[in-house]
């Protein structure tokens, strides 16, 4: 087993552990993410609060675990939406060819040239100012998924175009295979690995974009925690120097994003 394979296994293990911690947040902490201990704001780590408390006296571990749940459940959901859009339109462009191909690729090229963060905050600004935290979470990730498809579409299109020109598809067509059978038995199984790789690559991208949006106050609204709004605490540098454990969400985010990069098999490696 080479070093890359070991790194991949370790990364998958870390990702599984962090995902499980977020999913079972309720069992790992007895506090709610919004519960305030007003008498102990900015408390140091202790037996009661293993990661200390924030400026409002909320348990940092509880907020980190529930924030992990939100970020690690909704980023893959947004990535799934983006991959589905890319898969459907990229597949149509690659398989149909002609004007469909030209129109879809032109739309993808144009979307790739858009300054994503400008478009994201413009879409986010359409929501009313008094939007509820739950709607803010859903809207943030929905916008990310709806706008994050162009680069995946190009990859899906290239894979579908290769399939269109492949001998086995030509043979299937010549043999009188129904379009439905061709789609279900030949096209989708062959596109699946490409789309899975795009789905996997999109997850850390959406985690990072949500973090930036929330740090700017345009993502997930308080009191719901996400990795992004947990990082807002880093803006107060004197507080970070006094309470260095405040960087825990950043460390976790960087580790998870790196693990997503290492966990993806390289070209030629088994998936």
């Amino acid at each position: 087993m080479n070093a890359k394979a070991i790194l991949r296994i370790v990364s998958c293990g870390i990702l599984c552990a962090v995902f499980a911690a977020g999913l079972f947040a309720g069992s790992l902490t007895r506090y709610s993410y919004a519960l305030q201990f007003r008498e102990v704001p900015n408390a140091a780590p202790s037996a009661l609060h293993p990661f200390g408390t924030d400026a409002l006296g909320r348990d940092s571990l509880a907020r980190l675990l529930y924030g992990t749940r939100i970020s690690l459940l909704l980023a893959p959901a947004a990535a799934l939406l983006a991959t589905l859009i890319a898969g459907v339109f990229g597949g149509v462009a690659g398989l149909a060819g002609g004007w469909w191909e030209k129109a879809i690729l032109a739309a993808a090229d144009l979307s790739m040239a858009l300054p994503l963060l400008f478009v994201l905050i413009a879409m986010r600004a359409l929501l009313p100012l008094d939007v509820s935290p739950v709607i803010s979470v859903v809207a943030t990730f929905l916008i990310l998924g709806a706008l994050g498809w162009p680069s995946s579409l190009r990859v899906a299109w290239a894979a579908a175009r290769d399939l269109r020109n492949s001998d086995f598809l030509l043979l299937a067509r010549a043999g009188g295979c129904a379009p439905r059978t061709i789609l279900l038995r030949h096209v989708i199984p062959n596109l699946r690995p490409v789309l899975f790789a795009q789905f996997w690559i999109s997850i850390p991208l959406f985690i990072l974009t949500e973090a930036t949006l929330s740090m700017l106050g345009l993502g997930v609204m308080e009191p719901l925690p996400s990795w992004g709004n947990l990082l807002k605490g880093l803006e107060d540098f004197s507080a970070v120097r006094a309470n260095p454990w405040m960087v825990t969400p950043l460390v976790l985010l960087v580790v998870v994003v790196l693990c997503f990069q290492f966990a993806l098999p390289g070209e030629g490696e088994p998936a």
Partner: protein, 286 residues
């Protein structure tokens, strides 16, 4: 030269269509956004009923869809981008005031990022030493795992200029893509054959490798401009730099929809124009 003209005309046509479609889309989003036509001045208890009626009539003037689009088109033809609801100032004036600063930061940032990426990618390929390659891979790997807003905070703490932060966000993506392109080009049989025949490194790069990677590099340059404009939002917002990135952020926070839509449209046109120029230059070089 004659072959240039149709291409430039096509690109200009694309930009014109995009301006019209983007402008209409932005105007539609503003028109149908929740709260359109509401004015907080109507809640001011000091105003008389007549004043409130005047404010309501001001909004009713273009409340019909056709009238709304008609007024928007007339303004757009005269180069009037409308007024910011939050700052109560013409948007074109705000753009003229703040755009040069952002443009300077973005251009310097892109230039710095590309210089670092090209130098490191070439060094790791030409030196063929694992140290340079590892340094580039680790630096880009770490930077790519940081949210842009965290890079902006780091720049703020270190008192680094905004363009350095923009470069730090743009560099890892450019470096990774460029390095993969160069590695792929170096593995081509005719490049291997040229190296085996003892062709010098500079000639190999200029005559064979650069020619092969020209088109994707031109496309990457266009995309990097778009990335840098996007990165300008968190950088200017958190480093308190008064450019259009900060303006867009404040417009979104204050829900100034005409301002944010117009800023997005202007930046989109600039990035699409940059992509077109990169594409045209590459076609001419070929």
């Amino acid at each position: 030269m004659s072959s240039w003209l149709p291409r430039i005309a096509r690109r200009l046509m694309l930009l014109a269509v995009l301006s019209l479609a983007g402008g209409l889309l932005g105007a539609t989003l503003v028109r149908f956004a929740p709260g359109y036509g509401m004015d907080e001045r109507e809640l001011d208890p000091r105003l008389s009923e007549a004043s409130r009626d005047a404010i309501r009539n001001e909004h009713r003037l273009h409340s019909g869809l056709l009238s709304y689009y008609g007024a928007w088109m007339m303004r757009a033809v005269h180069g009037d981008l409308g007024r910011s609801e939050w700052l109560d100032r013409p948007i074109s004036g705000l753009l003229a005031e703040r755009f040069p600063l952002t443009l300077r930061s973005v251009l310097l940032g892109v230039l710095t990022a590309w210089s670092a990426a090209v130098l490191l990618a070439l060094a790791s390929l030409c030196a063929r030493g694992w140290m340079v390659d590892l340094a580039g891979t680790l630096t880009s790997g770490f930077l790519i795992a940081l949210p842009a807003a965290v890079v902006a905070l780091a720049a703020m703490y270190l008192r680094a200029p905004v363009f350095v932060a923009i470069a730090a966000v743009t560099f890892p993506k450019v470096f990774r893509y460029l390095r993969n392109l160069l590695v792929h080009a170096y593995e081509q049989p005719y490049v291997l054959a040229a190296r085996a025949r003892g062709i010098g490194q500079a000639r190999l790069l200029l005559r064979h490798v650069f020619r092969l990677v020209g088109q994707p590099v031109a496309a990457l340059f266009g995309v990097s401009i778009s990335m840098a404009f996007g990165a300008a939002i968190p950088m200017e917002a958190l480093c308190d730099s008064p450019g259009i990135g900060q303006l867009a952020w404040l417009a979104a926070l204050n829900r100034d929809l005409p301002l944010i839509m117009n800023l997005t449209l202007v930046v989109t046109l600039i990035t699409v124009a940059a992509n077109s120029v990169a594409d045209l230059l590459h076609q001419e070089a070929q």
